[in-house]
């Protein structure tokens, strides 16, 4: 029976070996244990011994040639034995080895390769979620880990606190002082700051291409528009009942408040629409801060209702009223009209049936809400009159794709058409 001569691991760390010299030539008679060749390993020159007997029929690796451990480099066989299969196996396997061990070796090789790939990929992944503070450059606030946590728990913005530690570090006692003294509108003005509040999504090659191509086509923010026509019957009903309940308190909600609440809830379900385009990545927010467009004498301002998804309609209503009031008096602070994650613009009160709004970058979407009107619609083969409202969503195509926007609008419509669904 033929004996395969493999390049053997002659040192613990050897991966390949070089034939320095064949001590036996083709045709020589070989006894078990004979030294066949001198092999240069990574450490020394070693002897390769025969592990079988017969005639050295074929030498597959010339002197000076290198082969991986496990590779077939010669064949010992009986005189006249057919070794053509073995030899051809050696031909295409030189440097790779053959047989069982080689499969194992090949597998290991693959594993190593994929590991290398991972290792290469890793730094990029690490790069993607760049720390917000670093990005904002001068905006970095020095604070102890404890102070950060306390401030986040209390909804106090670290920026608003003067640090008494070394280099102006905000420490526990500073946060405690701020809590005692009170920070104006503190709980309502937290910017999305903590890392739990958002997820940064690195840009795929496709996403980068979409961004580039669409900007070329449509301008810096590549808009597209989606319109829905919403049956508002149940919303009208709901508003009546809610207002009846609120009457004692002298409060009232508007259709716009209902739209805001529904939008916020739908956004929570679709974080891909509650997002910012940040040039090298997309930031998806876990909190919903709605910017509400308010017309003022010489323009437009968008005060922000923070955490709108977690607030009741009455609360939203009161806040919008209050913010809009101060907006008209131009008394809003910067933090009150910045930090929105998504915008809503309503021109219904002007009788506008439907329109498109322009996105407020870096936000990725804005809703244009038209007037609530009774309109004829066909239902089950009959024409009936229903209260309807048209809503058009402008999407930044770099962030939101058509289907994503459509699914968001589906959720929004679902809530407006059946406000009870909000309770489920």
């Amino acid at each position: 029976m033929a004996t395969k001569v493999h390049m053997e691991a002659l040192s613990p760390t050897m991966e390949e070996g070089q034939v320095v010299k064949w001590l036996k030539a083709e045709g020589d008679e070989i006894a078990n244990g004979d030294v066949l060749a001198e092999i240069e390993t990574d450490k020394a020159t070693m002897e390769l011994v025969a592990r079988g007997e017969g005639i050295l029929q074929k030498v597959l690796l010339d002197e000076g040639g290198t082969a991986a451990v496990g590779a077939l480099i010669a064949v010992i066989a009986e005189d006249g034995e057919d070794i053509s299969d073995l030899v051809s196996e050696g031909d295409d396997a030189t440097g790779e080895g053959s047989g069982e061990e080689d499969e194992a070796a090949a597998k290991e090789g693959e594993e190593e390769e994929s590991k290398e790939e991972e290792a290469e990929a890793a730094p990029e992944r690490d790069k993607a979620p760049a720390p917000e503070e670093g990005e904002e450059g001068d905006g970095r606030v020095k604070a102890s880990p404890l102070a950060r946590r306390l401030a986040a728990d209390q909804g106090i913005e670290l920026r608003s606190i003067e640090g008494s530690g070394p280099g102006g570090r905000v420490v526990k006692r500073d946060v405690e002082k701020a809590m005692e003294e009170g920070v104006p509108d503190a709980p309502r003005t937290t910017a999305p700051d903590s890392e739990e509040d958002y997820v940064d999504v690195s840009l795929s090659q496709m996403r980068k291409t979409i961004a580039k191509r669409l900007v070329e086509s449509l301008g810096p923010v590549p808009h597209f528009f989606l319109t829905v026509d919403v049956d508002m019957s149940r919303a009208v009903e709901a508003r009546k009942r809610v207002n009846a309940l609120l009457e004692k308190e002298g409060k009232k909600i508007s259709f716009n408040d209902i739209v805001l609440k529904a939008t916020a809830m739908a956004l929570r379900k679709h974080p891909e629409c509650n997002a910012h385009w940040r040039e090298d990545h997309v930031r998806r927010f876990n909190r919903v801060h709605l910017a509400v467009a308010v017309a003022i004498d010489d323009g437009l301002i968008t005060p922000v209702v923070r955490d709108a998804d977690r607030k009741g309609m009455a609360e939203i209503s009161a806040e919008v009223r209050e913010l809009a009031g101060r907006a008209r008096e131009k008394k809003l602070k910067p933090e009150e009209y910045s930090g929105g994650t998504f915008s809503v613009s309503n021109l219904g009160m002007f009788g506008i049936e439907d329109f498109t709004a322009v996105i407020n970058p870096p936000e990725a979407g804005i809703l244009a809400v038209g007037a609530l009107e009774e309109r004829p619609v066909a239902r089950d083969g009959e024409v009936i009159i229903e209260p309807r409202m048209k809503i058009t969503m402008s999407c930044d195509h770099r962030v939101i794709d058509g289907a994503q926007g459509a699914r968001f609008l589906q959720s929004l419509t679902g809530i407006l058409e059946e406000p009870l669904a909000a309770l489920i």
């Binding site: 404890l146 946590r149 008494s164 070394p166 420490v171 526990k172 006692r173």
Partner: protein
């Protein structure tokens, strides 16, 4: 309760364990006829004879290895080093034999034994006799490391160490041997303190001073002084460094939000480095200030009295570190 010295407490622990367990014996330089270089083994030769209390040649490597061999077949040797400064000669046997035997034999051969002796600086003994050696042993899995600071801890922990199934490095303090303290009376039953339980030696709440071994007493003095200033410090004595009572460390730090680690050894890759790493890994959001360390100056111990004082950790340096983490200047 009786008030006895640290040395007497160790002596009680040894004699009680030798009476309890025939396989326990004490071996080391000058432990028998001389009663021990620090008189820890006083009277043991008389009671147990030279079979169980054994003077050795000055061959640290040899008798440390001999102890390991005896433990491999089931005896429970207590090997005394006159000081751990001399045990560097025996490190091969401690690290390569004692620490790894159970593992590399696949769990066949445990090494139940104690290496004990003083560590750290006394007074003006200069570089080669003042080395705080904890970190070398804390580093190695397979070893346990115990550092009692009081007579009661010395007794209770030595008894637990002798009974432990693994090799235990038991480090005493040259300056502690004369320290007096209350220790439960032998007649009141077996007094054993389990390894891995830290002891809150002073309760405060404003700042955690965490430490082990001889410097516990420095920490207590600092805490007393801080008290006058209205600062209340936790003084947490770790007592054993492997196993390490991490829960106690975290509990104190979560309460005070700030910590100072105090040790006799050098700062670089010292015990404190590990403690700081553990705190920042597991109590990061509770920290109001960076954790600071007070250690020996990063130089060999000098002989000159004034320089030696400068090199050693001091009460003032502990107080200064506490003020820094409290943002008091």
């Amino acid at each position: 309760m009786a008030t006895i010295t640290y040395r007497e407490a160790l002596n009680q622990a040894l004699s009680e364990e030798m009476r309890r367990d025939e396989s326990v014996f004490l071996m080391g330089e000058e432990v028998a006829e001389y009663d021990g270089a620090y008189k820890v083994s006083k009277g043991l030769l008389d009671e147990f004879g030279d079979r169980r209390v054994v003077d050795t040649p000055i061959s640290e490597l040899g008798f440390a290895g001999l102890g390991v061999g005896a433990a491999m077949v089931g005896l429970r040797p207590v090997i005394e080093f006159m000081t751990f400064n001399f045990a560097f000669l025996a490190l091969d046997q401690i690290l390569n034999s004692a620490a790894k035997m159970y593992y590399m034999s696949g769990g066949q051969i445990p090494v139940p034994m104690v290496f004990r002796g003083p560590t750290g600086a006394a007074l003006q003994l200069s570089s080669q006799h003042s080395h705080a050696c904890d970190t070398y042993y804390a580093h190695a899995p397979g070893l346990k490391l115990v550092r009692p600071a009081t007579p009661a801890d010395a007794k209770g922990l030595l008894k637990a160490s002798i009974r432990d199934a693994d090799p235990v490095i038991f480090m005493e303090g040259e300056m502690l041997y004369n320290l007096k303290g209350e220790v439960p009376d032998p007649d009141d039953g077996d007094f054993v303190i389990p390894l891995g339980v830290a002891d809150l030696k002073h309760e405060g709440g404003d700042v955690s001073i965490i430490t082990h071994g001889s410097t516990v007493h420095l920490a207590l003095q600092a805490a007393k002084k801080l008290e006058k200033d209205g600062i209340h410090a936790d003084v947490l004595d770790l007592r054993s460094l492997r196993p390490l009572d991490v829960d106690a460390i975290l509990e104190s730090v979560k309460k005070t939000n700030r910590a100072v680690y105090l040790e006799e050894g050098w700062p670089y890759v010292g015990i404190g480095a590990q403690i700081v790493a553990t705190i920042q890994e597991e109590a990061f959001d509770h920290l109001d200030a960076p954790v600071l360390r007070v250690c020996q100056a990063d130089v060999p111990m000098p002989y000159a009295k004034n320089l030696e004082q400068l090199a050693k950790p001091s009460v003032d340096r502990v107080i200064e570190a506490c003020n820094r983490v409290l943002y008091r200047s």
